[in-house]
Every structure is written in structure tokens, then in C-alpha cells.
């Protein structure tokens, strides 16, 4: 067993895991964060997408030992202190970007990463950012619309904040 220290959703976490444990195993197991899903386990479906040091990566192909000392953001970490959903999460609900929900955490994290680096994406930018996330329910149209809705809401909130 090995002892690891990593920062997950802004909180320092200390875990003792098997040497070959994956980040996904640590999140869903000892840290009790089941929002991140395991789909293919092969890096293909993107259901396990989390942000490591700001980069969207597949938690299923990331050994936990590789993220020692790094910051990890999961879908649970997007929720505000009062339990409020983030703009991206709300947009997925309002825009109908969720059906069965299994791919949703990964989709949300990919969209969150996109909007952090590009607050005003085109529909093509959104589609490109989601090329590593598979959905078997929705046909993607409402997911792309939800992402664009999230971008608009975030911009409006920021502009409103500037005025206030």
C-alpha cells in the first residue's frame, strides 16, 4: 500500500491505496465521490473525465500515484458552498442535456474546462471539446445547446457582477 496526498475539490485528501490504484478508484472508493463514472475503462467514452491541474483527463487511465500533490476537480466540486449547481450543471438541466445521466458528469467537466479557457465558444468549439465524450441517449444536440446556454449564463453573470 502507498500513502498519497492530493487536493480534491479544494480539500486536501490523504489516502492509503494499492500502488496500482487509479484516480477513478480513489475518487469513487475511499473519497466517496461517485459522481465520476466508469464507462469503458479504456479512455474512449469520457464518462470518467475530471480536471487534473486544470486539464480534462480520463480518471480511468490515470494512476493515483501520478496525481500526488496535484489539484483534482470532479463534478461534485462544481457545486457551490450552499449546494447550488454551477452554471454548467444548471444549463444541462434546463437545456435537456441529460437523459440517463451516465455520461453527464464527464460532459459537464469537459464543458467546464472549455468555458474556463474559452468563455465565448462557437458551436464548433463545443463539439470539438466534446469529441472525447460519448452519449448513447441524446444525440448530442441538446448537450451542445446546454453548453452554449451555460456559456451565455456565465457571461451574463460576470457582466452583471461587473455592473454591481
Amino acid at each position: 500500500m502507498i500513502d498519497l496526498e492530493l487536493t480534491v475539490n479544494g480539500e486536501l485528501a490523504r489516502v492509503r491505496v494499492e500502488p496500482g490504484a487509479r484516480l477513478l478508484d480513489v475518487l469513487r472508493g475511499p473519497l466517496g465521490l461517485p459522481g465520476t463514472k466508469e464507462g469503458c475503462g479504456n479512455g474512449e467514452c469520457g464518462a470518467c473525465t475530471v480536471l487534473v491541474a486544470g486539464r480534462p483527463v480520463c480518471a480511468c487511465l490515470t494512476p493515483a500515484a501520478e496525481v500526488e500533490g496535484l489539484e483534482v476537480l470532479t463534478v461534485e466540486g462544481l457545486v457551490g458552498p450552499g449546494g447550488d449547481l454551477s452554471a454548467v450543471q444548471r444549463a444541462f438541466v434546463e437545456g435537456g442535456g441529460v437523459q440517463c445521466g451516465f455520461c453527464t458528469p464527464g460532459m459537464v467537466m469537459s464543458v467546464h474546462a472549455l468555458l474556463e479557457r474559452n468563455p465565448d465558444p462557437t458551436p464548433e468549439d463545443v463539439r470539438e471539446a466534446l469529441t472525447g465524450n460519448l452519449c448513447r441517449c441524446t444525440g448530442y444536440a441538446q448537450i451542445v445547446e446546454s453548453a452554449l446556454l451555460a456559456a451565455r449564463k456565465r457571461r451574463e453573470a460576470r457582466e452583471g457582477g461587473d455592473r454591481a
Partner: protein, 329 residues
Amino acid sequence: MLRLPQLQVARPRTVEEALALLGGEGALPFAGGTDLLPNLKHRLLAPQTLVSLAGVEGLSGVSVDPGGALVIGATTRLHEVAEHPEVRARAPALAMAAGLVASPQIRRMGTLGGNVLLDTRCRYVNQSAFWRKSLGHCLKKDGAVCHVVPGGQKCVAAASNDTAPALLTLGASLTVATAAGTREVPLESLWKPDGVYNRRLAPNELVTAIRVPAQAAGHRGAYLKLRPRESFDFPLLGVAVRVDAAGGVVQSADVVVVALQAVPRRVTGASDELAGKALGTQELEAAIVAVGARAHQQCRPLPNVPGDPDYRREMVPVFVRRALRAAAG
């Protein structure tokens, strides 16, 4: 659910420490892990220790040396290679190829060194251990027969690395650290036609950088990729081209294809057809079509990766023409 085998992860801080660890029994270097981990789940490899390169000083980043050569650290992530302004300006085919590997997530994990050294792939190999056992194994792993070429004695698993043909058109080389010192390996001599293990590198050697020399004046390049979906998939065919056109006239050209056989393959005669032709002319277009015809004649895809080999062969001239037009346009 396929499980990872039990593993140790070693985290060296220096190249010397990494080399010492790689000299041990059952040790494998680990960078992005995006191909290695699925292969471990499939029990294609059985290391006891993964030597993580993440903490090794000096292995990541893009720089330009005084002679104008790009020096790209081996663990530089493919996303950074694809987006880096110096790579896009000096080696456009490499930037395109890196940007077409797998998916956004995989490009933020996978490294250029890892893609250059990617293991060969075959529809009869990249399967679970149970699947392979049920088929009676094959030349690449645990068996003595080839399911691609009946009676074949040599493994024809396909080189499937998008960046390999691009780097070959650019005359790139690898900086390799060994216990005895550092050596420079031209990519031209890296690969050998053996799908079981197609690289001329020893297990205790470590690629530290990829070096792309300064290109000729008027350098242009492109990489195009045929795959089932426009994301994630390995190439069914990849085509990289170089067109050097100082003064608007082609001086020299190169075409290299990948995913047909165990090594990337150069299409011969591209310069013969294209040199002397001015950009934007009918003569150049006719020469581009002629290079496509040469490629069709020279390339015979095998049923080693998914996709009908006859279809893949017909796509060779199509992708060669498109890539040359993209570079020359």
C-alpha cells in the same frame, strides 16, 4: 470489467535515476499511460514496476535551438505539441498529427514520446486475454500463427502512431539517454519491419527529446487521417506530406503513410513528380494526381487493423492528394 494487474509505481526525479530503474527486471517507462494501461488490462505486457516519468526534470516542453531546430521534450503532451505556436509555424504536419491523436482528454494525457514509441496494433492482438486465448494466440503474443497473413512467419501488426509519418517527413531524430551517455537516433533508422516489437531501442534506454531540424525555405506540410469516427480511433490510414516551395515553386517533397504495416512507409517518387511545379498551377495538380497514383501502386494495406483493406487501399491516393493539396494550397 478488465482490471489492472498489481503494479508498483516508481517516481524518479532525474534521468539517471530513471535509467537505473529501467535497468531492473520487469520495469517499463510510464508517461501518459493512455496506451500502456489498456494494454496492461489486456495482459499484453506484464511489468512489475512502472517507472513514472512525470517527476523527471527536463523531459517536458518545447524550445527552439539557435539553429532553428525544434526540441520537444519526450513527455510534452500531445495537446501542447498541437497548439504550440512554434510547432505550428515550423512543423505544421507535426502539429496537425498531434492534434488528430485520439480525443481531447487523451491528448492532454498522452505524450509525443509515447506516440512516437507507440506499440504496433492489430485486430487480433488489441483484445482481452480471454479473446486471444480463444483464438489460439498469435505471433505477437504467446502464439506461433498469424491470423492476418495465413502461414505468415512475421508479425504484421500495424504502426499506428499519427506523429511518426509527420516526423519522418521532417527529418526528425530522437535524443536517447543510456547508461553510457546520450545518442541521437534518426527516425529513419528507428523502426524495423517486425510487428512484435518494431523499435530499435533497448528496454533500458530512455527517449528524452524529439528534435525536428530547421526546415527548408518555403516549407509546408500536412497530415490527414482516415478513421471510423472523427475522434478517438487509431488511424486506418495516416498520410503526412512535406512540400518545400521556396519562391512559390516546389523544390522538394515527401510523402509517408502509416497504419498499413509494421513500419511507417515512404511513398517513393514524390519529389520526382512535384519538383519544379509552381504552386496553384494545373501542372502541380496533375503532378499531385500522379503522386496519388504512385502511392496506390506502392501501398497494399493488410487486414491487420479494422476497416476493409480494399477500401483502405482505395483511400490511399485520395488522402495523398488531399494532404498534398492542403500543404500546397
